[in-house]
């Protein structure tokens, strides 16, 4: 996932070398994840601030055709850089996101996945996911992906209500969703569906229709995100000019609660603020890695990476534009734009802010004295689960999930 605005940071050496101390900063959770960003879409959605381009916007070495090779060259660079600090265990999860990864032919996705495998090998039972648009797959393409080693597909359904999809600039036919879910299952892929709530003009009933439709498909995993109107997007401009209403947090709260009710009734349980799964085994292990603090390497323009743990960690991010990205790699240079080194306080802050989003929660012992004392107050306010707190874990209640920022602030004072 690559939001469009990159943070400020310090420069990265041309060869992409990590600070030497990384060798002594083991990650706090087991596993090594690879994210592959595919920066192409057929159309650019008005709400989307991700780093993505339509093919008409690109050419040369940045084109879709050459992308698999370009990405493979970053993976080779990644192998060297990690090996220099004693990293590079077999990969436990791979996630292809975008953009629309399935705009690339399955063979290209297979090429990139093979490059990952060549570099580090895949751990036994590795999870390999790709995002897909319902209108960018066929039974054959899904079968080809499965054959190439993909285990899971996440469809961007967003809504089943035509006027909501239109506001989001989504072009797919919602009636096609049951078909593509069936094809994916037939290919042996685990299926997840993504939904968006809070689109301008979406009523609570519209949202219920989308939830019911998804629940009716008996999938094992659902993600539901509140629409974020980002600066610099077409929708952002429309909201600023008053052409579209700004999202209302109260409306979002009501829709979140409805989602939790409908999905729970359909046998799905929340395991992260915005994610529900049928069983623990159905949870997205790749995303769990982000929240638990594993090492991960993000491949592709604008992709973020993270290595380290304990007292120190480093995050970096690649240059945003596919052209600049391709040029850097062609010149044998690291595509990293900048990085930030996190000290102990920052690492701990991130640990709290990420771990508290999970149903497994946060070990209260990891908190300082004052925040630990705040736990009782948060339980009293109905933001943290009392039983879990007694067992030494900070776990959000449903109300707490909606007010997770308030909880994180209280737990990091």
């Amino acid at each position: 996932m690559t939001p469009s605005a990159l943070p400020d940071g310090e420069p990265v050496p041309d060869d992409g070398a990590l600070p030497a101390w990384v060798a002594d900063a083991p990650s706090v959770a087991p596993g090594f994840a690879v994210y592959v960003h595919v920066p192409f879409c057929r159309v650019r959605c008005g709400y989307c601030d991700f780093n993505t381009y339509t093919s008409a916007e690109l050419g040369g070495g940045a084109s879709q055709v050459a992308y698999a090779q370009t990405a493979a060259s970053e993976i080779e660079l990644a192998r060297r850089v990690l090996a220099d600090v004693g990293r590079g265990e077999p990969v436990s999860t791979v996630f292809f996101g975008g953009g629309t990864p399935t705009l690339l032919p399955p063979a290209d996705l297979a090429t990139i996945l093979a490059a990952v495998e060549d570099a580090w090998g895949l751990a036994p039972g590795a999870e390999v996911t790709t995002e897909a648009n319902p209108d960018s797959v066929t039974p054959a393409s899904l079968a080809a992906l499965a054959a190439a080693g993909f285990t899971r597909v996440s469809f961007g359904v967003q809504s089943v209500v035509p006027h909501v999809l239109a506001t989001l600039d989504r072009t797919h036919d919602p009636d096609r969703v049951p078909d593509v879910v069936g094809w994916a299952r037939d290919a042996g892929l685990a299926v997840s569906l993504d939904l968006i709530y809070g689109t301008p003009g979406e009523s609570l009933d519209d949202w219920r229709r989308s939830l019911d439709a998804v629940a009716g498909l008996a999938v094992d995993h659902v993600s539901a995100y509140a629409l974020v109107v980002e600066e610099g997007t077409r929708m952002g401009a429309q909201v600023r000019r008053g052409l579209l209403p700004a999202p209302d947090p109260d409306d979002e709260a009501a829709k979140y609660e409805l989602a939790d009710e409908v999905l729970s009734a359909a046998g799905l349980t929340w395991y992260e603020v915005s994610n529900w799964a049928r069983t623990d085994a159905d949870a997205c292990r790749h995303n769990l890695g982000y929240w638990r603090g594993v090492d991960w390497w993000g491949v592709g323009p604008g992709a973020h990476s993270h290595v380290g743990g304990g007292d120190r960690a480093v995050r970096w991010w690649n240059v945003k534009h596919p052209r600049a990205y391709a040029d850097r790699l062609a010149a044998g240079r690291s595509p990293a734009a900048a990085r930030e080194v996190l000290g102990g306080d920052e690492v701990r802050l991130e640990r709290v802010l990420l771990a508290v989003r999970l149903r497994e929660g946060l070990d209260v012992q990891l908190l300082g004295d004052a925040p630990r004392h705040a736990v009782a107050g948060l339980v009293a306010d109905g933001l943290l689960d009392g039983v879990a707190a007694i067992r030494g874990r900070a776990v959000l209640t449903r109300r707490g999930r909606l007010l997770a920022d308030t909880v994180v602030r209280a737990l990091t004072d």
Partner: protein
Amino acid sequence: MTPIPDAALSAQVQPAATPPHLLRNFCIIAHIDHGKSTLADRMLQLTGVVDARAMREQYLDRMDIERERGITIKSQAVRMTWAVAGEAGGPLVPYALNMIDTPGHVDFTYEVSRSLAACEGAVLLVDAAQGIEAQTLANLYLAMENDLAIIPVLNKIDLPAAQPERYAEEIAGLVGGDPSDVLRVSGKTGEGVSALLDRIVHEVPAPQGDPDAAARAMIFDSVYDTYRGVVTYVRVVDGRLTHRERIAMMSTKATHELLEIGVISPEPVPTKGLGVGEVGYLITGVKDVRQSKVGDTVTDAVRPAEHSLSGYADPKPMVYSGLYPIDGSDYPVLRDALDKLKLNDAALVYEPETSVALGFGFRVGFLGLLHLEIVRERLEREFDLDLISTAPNVVYEVTLEDRSVLTVTNPSEFPGGRIAQVREPIVRATILAPSEFIGAIMELCQARRGELLGMDYLSPERVEMRYTLPLAEIVFDFFDALKSRTRGYASLDYEAAGEQPGDLVKVDILLQGEQVDAFSAIVHKDKAYAYGVAMAGKLKELIPRQQFEVPIQAAVGARVIARENVRALRKDVLAKCYGGDITRKRKLLEKQKEGKKRMKTIGRVEVPQEAFIAALSSEASPDKEKSKK
């Protein structure tokens, strides 16, 4: 023949050696932007005191704030020489003219009165395009009561909008005499200024005083200078003062050595002394203007005068406000800054106070709103402080049922019950306005609990209305309201007129049941509801939603008179938190935590400092006072 005296003539009017019959002491009475400073500048140039090159605009206004706002805060005195032909075309006779600059704002009436007492004549300066204003009228009455010779002058006759005939008639009606006696000048072009200097020589009486009596000099200004300590401006009434002699302050009996004595022309020039009738400065090495107070009488310590000159009064604060540093760690800076300003401002009083909402600060007493604003601005500008000031309030005298009496300068100290009587300060206000606005003004004054004392027509078009009004009704936004109802044409002056009982109550503001001291206000019973509704409504907009509902209540005692609710926040979580979102999220959180340091917690409610500033600043509008015309 030049009116600037040559060396031989100048020798006759040397400081400490000028016979009283060659002295003329005068001041200029004018409204703020009627051009007093420009006229004074022109006089300095014409008399050769300042050459054109050294001239800078408003030479006499020393403080930056004065120059920027075009108003005079501290008065000064400049000695100029001017020669006029003797009787029947005789030889030129030299004169020493002392121009005493007076502050022009209602907050500084006492300083004005001391300046007037140092003069024998006053130039009444009126803008030929605007006519006389209430403030000028008040000072004119003061000058006439002091038996000063009045020289009426219309200024800005170069303006296209000038109506000299019309306003000459108005002025003649006020001071007596014929409209043709009203001089017409332009400070800007210099036209008529020379004739004005001649008129001053001819019409302002020479000072009368006993040169052989024990020395008595009246202090009409006192200024702190970083390098020289306090510089005191005096008018010698009887006897003389000499360099190095010991002097005594008659109010305190404190004695000092005269380290330096001299005249201003236009920079300080040390002299051997000051003779009877002369005006100048003295330096004794004291560091605090409170040791050299305006209105006090200076005498010879060895041969002291028996009686002090009349008219001395300690300045009395009329308006109080809490001043708090926005950054709590600036408290010591604020304390030091006030200590420094105090050296130069005998009217400034303050004591430390603590507010639950605002932390550590000071309760500061001021002469009025302009004084408040000037002090605040100097603190921010000269000491680099960011301040919150609470809504200004007047001083209340509360008699409890047990007959004990409390003086309340802070609404949060207002007792909750057992009150027998509350007395509040009142003022006598004079409003000048075109007569078409009489109805609008009466309506406004009635709404502000005013009582009409009388009304006079200055001319068929202009009316003078006199009211008694509670000071509290004036210190907030009265002047703005008056201006807006009279399309800017009305002018206002007021003077303290004692106290009267009032039906006053304290309105408290509560957040989640906790009182917020900074928002308490003492208001008339009939206005409590409006205040409560307005404040609760404003806070509802300013207080961010919290994870619980925040009731905002306005209450008089235990009775809730207004209520608003800040609804509970239901969602603040960021839905997506992957890869690059994590850095964004962490930075946002770090920023929020930084922002939290600027939050004040009332009970459990977190209130951003900006909310306090916004709620307090829009309540009172002292800023508008400077636009006074």
